[in-house]
């Protein structure tokens, strides 16, 4: 399964339950136990991107 190019909102979803997106010069991936909706993905990724970094 190839990844799709991230769309305008900055992330790509594969298989419904995995997403990949640019993160501070690296790449981050999220695997969910469910298949989030587009708005749920956006909220989740926003949470990750805006969290304090370590």
């Amino acid at each position: 399964m190839y990844l799709q190019r991230p769309h305008a909102e900055g992330y790509a979803v594969t298989g419904g339950s995995q997403a990949v997106f640019p993160y501070r010069g690296e790449w981050a991936g999220v695997t969910m136990p469910t298949t989030p909706t587009a708005s749920e993905w956006r909220a989740l990724i926003h949470t990750i991107r805006t969290a304090p970094t370590a």
Binding site: Y2, R5, W27, A28, G29, T31, T53, A54
Partner: protein
């Protein structure tokens, strides 16, 4: 009365801590033994075979588990999961507590229970060592994000919960993939039930250009190992 109870609680806590410490010492002192010791522990109707070799390394195998087993070296806090006789993954734990927490999750054992079982064990032949080398190496930090941050150069979100699930485990790893090295991967797992409630985040250094191949992208062990075209960045 409250003060008295607190004192009793403190004493009990100290005694419990001393017991665990004694078990850890007993396990680590197994290195002084001259032969491998084998013991059996029954857990919920299942039988777990435990070995301690002359170097103090422990091996755990469920009865009927064939060549699948786990070795754990208390001296280096290193665990090797062996599948079909071959090393499948190597994990180094940031602390003994995290290591035993993981072993307890999988095998239901604690340092005292293992020490007690081995104390009444018998001499045995050590199980065969694993074949080959693992393609992945991982360091587990439990929920200690500060230690993880101190050990890696990657930026990662300092999240203690995500989507309503608490942070369960933080780790760094590297893996050898058909297309090359995955680079450093930081993983954060949220939720206690790995089957239903685990969320994970990984950040990774991308493949070096010369190692990027379509095959590597397809077979990446971690989704974050894959990458989209650089032109989109």
């Amino acid at each position: 009365m409250l003060c008295h109870n607190r004192r009793e609680l403190t004493v009990l806590t100290l005694l419990a801590g001393a017991g665990v410490a004694a078990a850890l010492v007993a396990l680590s002192c197994g290195g002084a033994a001259r032969q491998t010791t084998e013991a059996r522990i029954t857990l919920g109707g299942q039988v777990l075979d435990v070995w301690r070799d002359p170097a103090g390394r422990l091996t755990f195998r469920w009865e009927g588990g064939g060549r699948d087993r786990t070795t754990y070296d208390p001296a280096t806090r290193t665990r090797v999961d062996i599948v079909g006789g071959a090393a499948d993954s190597i994990t180094k734990y940031a602390s003994s507590a995290v290591a035993w927490g993981a072993l307890h999750m999988e095998y239901g054992v604690t340092p005292p229970s293992v020490a007690k079982a081995l104390a009444s064990g018998h001499a045995a032949v050590a199980p065969p060592s694993s074949r080959g080398r693992s393609s992945s190496a991982r360091t587990d930090y439990g929920t200690d994000l500060s230690s993880l941050a101190a050990a890696v150069t990657l930026s990662f979100p300092r999240l203690t919960s995500l989507g309503g699930y608490a942070l369960a485990d933080a780790s760094s790893s590297t893996a050898q993939l058909p297309g090359g090295n995955s680079g450093l991967v930081v993983s954060l797992d949220f939720g206690l039930d790995a089957q239903e409630r685990t969320l994970s985040i990984s950040t990774s250094r991308p493949f070096r250009r010369r190692t990027r191949t379509p095959g590597a992208r397809r077979t990446g062990a971690c989704i974050s190992s894959a990458r989209t075209p650089r032109a989109t960045r």
